[in-house]
Symmetry: none
Subunit: 413 residues, 2 copies
């Protein structure tokens, strides 16, 4: 079963307003086994909105409208629905009395303008609104349903939960949903897709969605069936194939970000981490400490942004730096070793590289990053070449540092 959502309001067409209602409604609908197949945002324009409503009803059996039910001239949802369905608007004394009673509770008479809110689309049923003056409306158009909800989230959400959810559930075929979720590090999006597209493409159920950020890819599988066991079987079958293809590149199956996965592992082992950051200059430490409670395993570290700080704060040998350059295997290893010694940590990560946009005189091209890792059994370093601008290169460097440690802790490296 599919649904569409139309959010109504010219303010939602500005550069600063996000339609959060549709996100919440999508979550609610998905939990019922309903897919949202299209969304639209339409301004306070009756003709436009009526056309959008007609088009949406031609595509999806469930249409939810939010917004435009207020008392002012630019609240056009009632009129647009009546126009789209070629139905009349009918004045409801019952709704008027209800709005009057609400005003009375706040010791005020009902404003004349609020009478606009007492019009129902012919054949519609009103949906009570305990949190505002705008009643919602439910129009049955068998086999379709059109639901009109107010725009303010604190009115829309309880109205949907209390007045719509049960009714929707009754009319929907019983569907069960099982999901799989993988987060992957250490490969690019196109490499990943080349590897797993042949696996997931033959399946239309589960639906596979891939989201990519710098060095971090999320794979969602969502299986639907008419029994829980069948949905689980579908999710498991495709999930296992993808797991087999990706192996250790999967770092999380429960949504936990990489810094949390690494932290959980260190906590279990009773070990600690410190960092020495040059081109990332704190982003790695900042990322690690997004995890509340990370002080159990993260000690701190050194920001050695200027070359001189690598000597002064970390005590690196000036001859070593002069010989190999700051962006080098030797310096990455020396940084990791020195910060491990200075902090007394079990593990230490070091990042040195060129984040751009321009290369330093005599330095390597932007995107060249050496990551050093020091631990109980010794020190090593890896070279990476990341694409993109300064922001992406630094994000890749942070992600790849954490992934290097993850692989080391899992004895894969």
């Amino acid at each position: 079963m599919n649904a569409e959502i139309i959010a109504i309001g010219s303010e939602l067409l500005t550069s600063s307003r996000v339609d959060t209602n549709s996100l919440w409604l999508t979550g609610q609908l998905n939990a019922l086994g309903v897919e949202v197949t299209q969304k639209a945002i339409v301004g306070d324009d009756r003709e436009r909105l009526a056309a959008s409503i007609r088009a949406a009803l031609g595509r999806a059996p469930i249409l939810i409208l939010t917004g435009g039910l207020g008392p002012t001239e630019d609240d056009v949802t009632r009129d647009a629905v009546a126009q789209a369905l070629s139905r009349d608007l009918i004045y409801s004394e019952e709704i008027q009395h209800w709005i009057e009673a609400r005003f009375a509770r706040f010791g005020r008479p009902m404003a004349e303008i609020n009478k606009r809110q007492a019009f129902l689309v012919a054949g519609a049923e009103k949906l009570e609104n305990p949190n505002g003056t705008a009643p919602g409306q439910w129009v049955d158009l068998p086999p379709a349903m059109l639901i009109m909800l107010p725009g303010p989230p604190h009115e829309m959400k309880p109205m949907f939960e209390d007045r719509c959810l049960g009714r929707l559930r009754e009319r929907l075929p019983t569907r069960f949903i099982r999901t799989r979720f993988f987060r992957v590090a250490g490969m690019g999006e196109s490499d990943l897709d080349q590897l797993i597209a042949p696996i997931y493409t033959p399946y239309s159920n589960p639906v596979t969605t891939i989201l990519a950020a710098a060095g971090d890819i999320q794979i969602h599988l969502r299986a639907q069936a008419d029994s829980l066991a069948a949905a689980e079987r579908l999710a498991q079958e495709l999930g296992e194939k993808i797991e087999a293809a990706l192996g250790e590149r999967i770092y999380s199956r429960d949504g936990a970000p990489l810094e949390k996965v690494v932290g959980t592992c260190l906590t279990q082992r009773g070990e600690t981490l410190a960092v020495a950051e040059s081109c990332t200059a704190g982003l790695l430490g900042g990322r690690i400490t997004e995890v509340a409670g990370s002080s159990a395993w993260f000690l701190g570290g050194l920001l050695v942004y200027q070359t001189d700080m690598k000597l002064r704060l970390l005590g690196l040998d000036p001859a070593l730096v002069a010989k190999h350059g700051v962006v080098s295997e030797e310096v990455a290893m020396a940084m990791a070793g020195a910060v491990r010694e200075r902090t007394g940590s079990t593990w230490a990560l070091a990042v040195t590289g060129e984040a751009g946009p321009d290369p330093s005189p005599g330095g390597p091209p932007p995107g060249t990053i050496w990551i050093g890792l020091a631990g109980p059994a010794g020190t090593g370093a890896r070279l990476f070449r990341f694409p993109g601008d300064r922001i992406r290169i630094r994000a890749f460097a942070v992600q790849s540092s954490l992934n290097l440690l993850r692989l080391k802790l899992a004895s894969i490296l």
Copy 2:
């Protein structure tokens, strides 16, 4: 002139993903005097998307599509546009060579799958993509224009700015727009609005837009008129009133972020900065070094996340820490003084506080942050109490640290 935007991608129809591209594009279009009259989000479904494209072109002379230009099977934008316009897709050897060259730069052969990205809609012009493999496309359909942009923001934004803005400007009727832009630190959004709403509310032109992030507020004024002088007069009149009300809380009039304002000031003075971070654990250093070239004035610093690191790396007196607690004026000042000494910087910022979500045993409530500042004339510290969750508290702490230094450098503090 009106525009519509269609964001493409099934992941944008989940309950967790916001279409931020259309917000950014709306801001860009508004600045050209173009209103966005409708937006849609369509999944990776060619038929649906083709129908949406046809409908939108029937309503608005400018249609911008974002997303669906990747190399995989579920990237259907090229095909859907061809279908909607009843045009062929034509293979471009030129684009293929360009994609191959991009892969070669990273030392890899082009994946076969990327050939899909070399197809142009007949009559379309390609839009170069320096940040990814997906070229954009521009289709002239006089008097309409259809623009296809990639979905990842770091690819979409530069492509729009570099390849589309100038071309759009040429084709739009001449409206003169003058803007004023202020960035404000050191006050909350509701305090700010209480102060300036009485000033800007009487004006419908300029349009005033306020965007608030943690500790950082942006105020945009946008005046439109049919002559440059008239637009400038409108912008100047309201702009001056707002400047008078906000005074030194305005830190930028050209959009420069706070770290850049501070950096420019330090560069002019030939001075340097170092940091000692506890609860922010690198976020301040990471933020400072978002500015390319910041190594001219930012030296580095120390991440002293665990208490023991404050003694071990910074050499703080254990008795001082034990007496006052790590979140204290004394420790903030000692941290700033110590990192200034160890790095030899002109200025040093230190952050120590409780970011939450839970208070430490015996510690202050989450949101309590001491910021220390050491400079040539001595050391001081300020107490802040920030609202919100861990992420917001840490963002407030970073912003407030930089603002403290800005005010000090301007001799206001």
